[in-house]
Amino acid sequence: MVELDWTATTPLSRIHVAGRHGAAQGAAGVTLAELSDFELVQVMARRGQWGAVAQACAEAYGKAAPARPQAVTAQGALLVWSGPDQFLILSPRGAAVEKARTSFSGMASLSEQSDGRSLIRISGFQARDLLAKVCSLDLHPAVFPVDAAAATSIDHTAVNLWRGEDSSGEAVFFLLVFATFAESLWRTMLDSGAEYGIAIDASGAWQP
């Protein structure tokens, strides 16, 4: 009997094909990529413990847990608000779940969601035009600035959406979607953005 080799897949690995999609002329208006190799922990404060959780978070991650819809860049992790008294810790694959367990012991309940979500990066000068076709939120820079986050629904699918640091002067959005919905949403985004021309980047590891 031999030890088994476990090859991991990502929610989009079957249909994520790097290259150009849709309109082929001119610069691609939208760039998409699935990011992988992250750990994701849902942290839910226990009753009356939110203050302690925020404090513990500051001690462990250098930033207090977000109490409003924001994605806070912390030490080695991104802290994404996901609801009242709860948030997500997104970290590169490693020992992030263990760190969270230690940091919030007794004050928060943790559920690992590393495999439960697909993480999609959306950028390009027409990223907002694509998102306008699937998302009801106002993503104008004055309304949805860098670090803004939202728990919303896209294409009838619950998602977490946030805005990262701009890249080359253009807004960058991140979308966290339930893994089993990911292929469906991906196809919807390809259809919606086809008129702008989509560059699909090679999938890669998420970095804070």
Binding site: M1, V2, E3, L4, D5, W6, T7, A8, T9, T10, P11, R14, G22, A23, Q42, M44, A45, R46, R47, Q86, A108, S109, L110, S111, E112, Q113, S114, D115, G116, R117, A132, K133, C135, S136, L137, D138, H140, V143, D155, H156, T157, F178, A179, T180, F181, E183, S184, L185, R187, T188, D191, S192, A194, E195
Partner: protein
């Protein structure tokens, strides 16, 4: 391409591009026009007067308007799968190769057999169908309805599915301006300058509104130059968005609007990757409705003859499109605005046959114009117009003094005054208010945050529109706190008088139309009044006045006025019907958007989906999920053969099934056990860590809600599973319980449905297979891993998994959970490692067969009508604690002894097929609702027992075990004997699953 056929094209002028000729065809006849034309203007330029037949009488009809309010000129646009019925020729931008056909005529537009309906007109009055086709009822479906459908109706929809793509999108702004005429442009400029985010929507392809037709002077420059500068200024503002070919159709709550963008209706086929239309939902903090006004006809005999056209439309065709609706034109007006048509016609070299003005006095300027150009100004009204498909003939005038006169013209321009477009402002049930000075309804407020400006608000002069539009835009921005200067309001010295004298209806003998699209005449309104249908809502339903694609935009006010006169009320007393969205027709395709065909709804894929697809699995839609239903093998002739093989393999060897679709919920916190005690009928706080238990939830009303297996992974951590169908609803229910019902409990919930790939592995050889996967250090023996045990195990290669010793099939079984990213790898390993044991993947059908054999209840029994006791699970209801549904479950009817309860059912003739839905009748009784004793809920062909087996809900079922009853199936015409039996057919002692 020659312009040879364009007999009515003016030699110069217009906003058309004479350098870009376009060819098109109408009813198979090839014609030409220019870029910038609409289909209507091109038809006019080609001398076409007859464009369609009317709805009921098949009367010849021409073009009445130049906008989206058009009731007559409806055509079938395009051909084949793209054929689009009831398209208004007045809004179709001409493109090269356009194909259009007239509607509602047979065999041809010019020779229409059904125009004999006109001869029968005396019987086709309002309420005709209601009165005529009442008896005998049996004839309705076979005779009357097909007959009526053939005779009436408009265009034909394409039978093929639409090859084009539609989509929806959201937009947000501070100030939405609906309408890009002078008032709308002024509003957008003011709000934009103040710093607000502005969206300006214009239905037309070009901004300017009436300026495109009427010109004028603004800020001392020609209107066209001012529009160009305004567009340039708006374009330079980063937060102003101009959307042309976009109609704001609907106003919903909280500043949400619908707007239809015709992205590619002006080209034959949308460019690759582009939609034909896009339905916008625009969320605005403030809305300025600058939707303009619509001119209204006058009701007189023959007012529907081709060649009778609204005066403003005549002007539009002449000035904007350089197309002459007539060469010798007469005008019938009751206001000064109508006279502008005389100016336009004369400036283009057309002849004026005469002006009929209902007002006793006309201005000195107008008199001078008449004498200069040698036409008569007759004080009176048009009594009737003769003519037909060739156009207008003699125009009979009733002079004010009682005498008559006749005009000869090939066109009659009519102005009965203007109606502000009150559609959007009235959509929240606000009724518009009447203004006597302009004899029209104007908005009386509107939805919160919405104001009307310009002619939409009853201001008809250019100067007034500019001023009011600017003020509305500035006020909206200021109201939102934008402090920049809104700049100066654009000004115009064009402050023309309107001086309207209302004329609604000229009574006469000839058919006088109120609603052209529905062929509603003045006498129909009179009949409705006579028969008591005097309320405007009744008037609308009884006569169909104001229905169909134009929703009475050119007819409602005249209809009200006639009804008011007949009933001795004022027009405001008579009132208006309710205004509902959308303002203009919206194609169903646009409402569906992306969500059609394979994108009808989102699809969820299991972790083993791609592997299963490689195996050739047949998938079944289960909610949003695609689940493997069975895995056909080469040579198997039908599903039953495949499913039978899968069941036998599990019962005799080992098989596995992806059960990741079950809802999975982490229940955390110190009070997690107490919480579960309240939501389940049985107790979970006493469950030991490392154990699983079957749980049943009730609704508040005591009926069973959902079931599943819940495990205790730690003192303060349970892992709850739901059925596939109820995963979402149970999560919502639990959140409701946690947040609202039991806020005192320290409990946290997280959906982890997608985190885990979960497989049920079942059969006598399950341990053999698992040993190939699980690390040898793990003890899987009955002692080391007893029935209903749960724990984390190490797999070979270092991956951690959760193992649950639970069984749905009745076999020795485990469920194994791995992080979803290893789901695909796990299923492949099960196949390779299990090869020597004959491992067999099985689908939902085999799963269903085994659960029926085992007597487990599922969806057909958890049907929203059954109690725990009905399902044979009454003993699970704890008497030592309270739980949701406990009290209501004790209601008399829910504990009645004659309730239908779950039993097993098998045909006495073992070769017989049992069918779901068959009713259970006592032997010897005549089947009837009174003798109905329940029904068959679930069936399967059991390979284990080599016969059909079923479960059913049967009255007094448990006391009747062993009874031979009759399965009565009137749907399939079958009656056969069945035996009522214990629902657990397979291994009732449970020895196989306990090992």
């Amino acid at each position: 391409m020659s312009a040879g056929g364009q007999t009515h094209r003016l030699a110069s002028g217009g906003l058309i591009d004479r350098g870009k000729p376009l060819g098109f065809s109408f009813d198979g006849q090839t014609m030409s026009g220019y870029a910038g034309d609409t289909l209507a203007s091109a038809l006019i330029a080609n001398g076409v007067k007859l464009v369609g037949r009317s709805f009921k009488y098949h009367r010849p009809r021409g073009i009445l308007t130049a906008g989206s309010e058009e009731p007559n000129a409806l055509v079938e646009l395009r051909s084949g799968a793209r054929r689009e019925p009831n398209t208004r020729a007045t809004t179709v931008e001409l493109y090269d190769g356009l194909v259009a056909a007239s509607q509602n005529r047979w065999p041809s537009l010019s020779f229409d057999l059904l125009s004999v309906n006109q001869l029968a007109a005396p019987i086709f009055v309002a309420g005709f169908y209601y009165k005529t086709f009442m008896w005998p009822g049996a004839l309705w479906e076979k005779f009357y309805e097909p007959l009526i459908r053939r005779a009436a109706g408009l265009g034909r929809a394409a039978p093929e599915s639409d090859p084009d793509h539609y989509e929806k999108a959201w937009a947000h702004c501070d100030v939405l301006v609906a309408g890009g005429g002078p008032a709308g442009l002024a509003a957008a400029l003011a709000a934009g300058r103040a710093g607000a985010r502005v969206i300006l929507c214009e239905e037309d392809a070009t901004l300017g509104g009436r300026l495109l037709s009427d010109g004028g002077t603004i800020d001392s420059m020609p209107a066209a130059d001012w529009v160009a500068r305004a567009v340039e200024e708006l374009g330079a503002m980063p937060d102003v968005r101009i959307m042309t070919r976009t109609t704001v159709t609907s106003a919903f709550d909280h500043g949400t609007h619908a707007a239809l963008e015709r992205v590619n209706d002006h080209v034959p086929v949308p460019p690759e990757h582009q939609p034909r239309q896009r339905l916008w939902r625009i969320v605005a903090k403030r809305t300025v409705v600058a939707a303009g006004a619509l001119e209204r006809p006058v009701v007189f005999g023959g007012n529907d003859v081709p060649g009778v056209m609204l005066a403003s439309a005549v002007r539009t065709y002449i000035n904007r499109y350089a197309a002459a609706p007539a060469k010798r034109l007469a005008l019938f007006t009751n206001n000064d605005d109508g006279w502008k048509t005389v100016d336009a016609a004369l400036a283009s070299g057309l002849t004026i046959a005469g002006v009929v003005d209902a007002r006793a006095e006309v201005s000195a300027g107008q008199r001078a114009l008449a004498s200069k150009h040698g036409f008569a100004v007759l004080n009176g009204v048009v009594d009737h117009v003769d003519g037909g498909k060739a156009g207008t003939g003699k125009i009979a005038v009733a002079l004010a003094g009682g005498a008559t006169a006749t005009l000869e013209a090939d066109g009659l321009a009519v102005s009965g005054g203007w109606n502000p477009s009150v559609g959007l402002t009235s959509q929240h049930r606000g009724r518009p208010k009447w203004r006597d000075d302009i004899a029209a309804f104007v908005p009386d407020g509107g939805p919160v945050g919405m104001v009307a400006a310009g002619s939409a608000n009853g201001v008809f002069s250019l100067a007034g529109c500019l001023k009011e539009g600017h003020a509305a835009g500035a006020a909206a921005a200021a109201d939102l706190g934008f402090g920049n200067s809104a700049g100066a309001a654009p000004s115009s010295d064009d402050d023309a008088t309107y001086a309207l004298k209302p004329v609604w209806h000229v009574k006469g003998k000839k058919k006088a139309f109120v609603d052209f699209q529905n062929d509603v005449t003045a006498s129909d309104v009179a009949l409705a009044a006579l028969e008591g249908f005097q309320s405007v809502e009744h008037l609308k339903r009884y006569t169909t006045l104001g229905m169909a694609t134009d929703q009475g935009k050119t007819s409602n006010t005249q209809g009200l006025a006639i009804m008011a006169e007949l009933t001795g009320r004022s027009i405001p007393e008579t009132g208006t019907t309710i205004y509902r969205p959308p303002y203009v027709p919206v194609a169903i395709g646009a409402l569906a958007g992306h969500h059609r065909d394979e994108n009808f709804h989102s699809v969820r894929l299991t972790p083993s989906h791609h592997w299963a697809a490689e195996q050739g699995a047949v998938f079944v839609d289960t909610g949003l999920w695609k689940r493997a239903q069975w895995y056909p093998k080469k040579g198997e002739k039908d599903w039953l053969e495949s499913v039978t093989r899968e069941v036998k393999a599990v019962r005799s060897g080992v098989g596995f099934c992806d059960v990741s679709t079950l809802g999975k919920i982490d229940v955390h916190g110190p009070d997690a056990g107490a919480f579960l005690d309240r939501v389940y009928i049985n107790t979970f706080s006493s469950l030991a860590v490392g154990k699983a238990r079957y749980g049943l939830m009730l609704r508040e009303d005591g009926i069973v809600y959902d079931d599943g297996t819940t495990s205790r992974l730690a003192e303060d951590h349970y892992f709850l599973t739901t059925t596939t169908a109820k995963a979402g609803p149970v999560m919502q229910h639990l959140e409701f319980c946690r947040q609202i019902l039991f806020p005192e409990l320290d409990v946290q919930l997280a959906s982890v449905s997608d985190q885990w790939a979960q497989f049920s592995i079942a059969g006598p050889k399950v341990r053999d297979l698992l040993k190939e996967i699980v690390d040898p250090s793990e003890d899987l023996s009955n002692e080391g891993f007893p029935f209903m045990a749960v724990r984390e195990v190490l797999l070979r290669g270092g991956v951690k998994a959760r193992l649950f010793r639970i069984s749905f099939s009745g076999e020795m079984a485990f469920e194994i959970s791995v992080p979803a990213r290893f789901g695909d790898a796990l299923v492949r390993k099960l196949m390779t490692a299990g090869e020597k044991f004959g491992v067999t993947p099985y689908g939902t059908e085999a799963l269903g067969v085994m659960r029926v054999e085992k007597g487990h209840v599922a969806g057909p029994e958890l049907n929203g009508m059954t109690t725990a006791a009905d399902l044979g699970l009454g003993k699970m209801m704890s008497t030592k604690k309270d739980f949701i549904g406990r009290v209501m479950a004790g209601r008399e009817a829910l504990v009645a002894p004659d309730r239908m309860v779950v039993v097993g059912i098998k045909p006495v003739d073992q070769s017989r097929r049992l069918r779901s839905g068959a009713h259970i009748i006592k032997k010897g009784e005549v089947p009837s609702p009174d003798t109905d004793g329940g029904y068959v809920t679930s069936v399967c062909f059991s390979p284990t027992f080599d016969q059909w087996l079923g479960l059913g809900l049967v009255t007094h079922g448990r006391e009747r075990i062993g009874e031979i009853a009759v399965a009565h199936d009137p749907l399939r015409g079958e009656d056969y004997e069945v035996e009522l039996c214990n629902p657990v057919f397979y291994d009732p002692e449970g020895g196989r699953q306990r090992g």
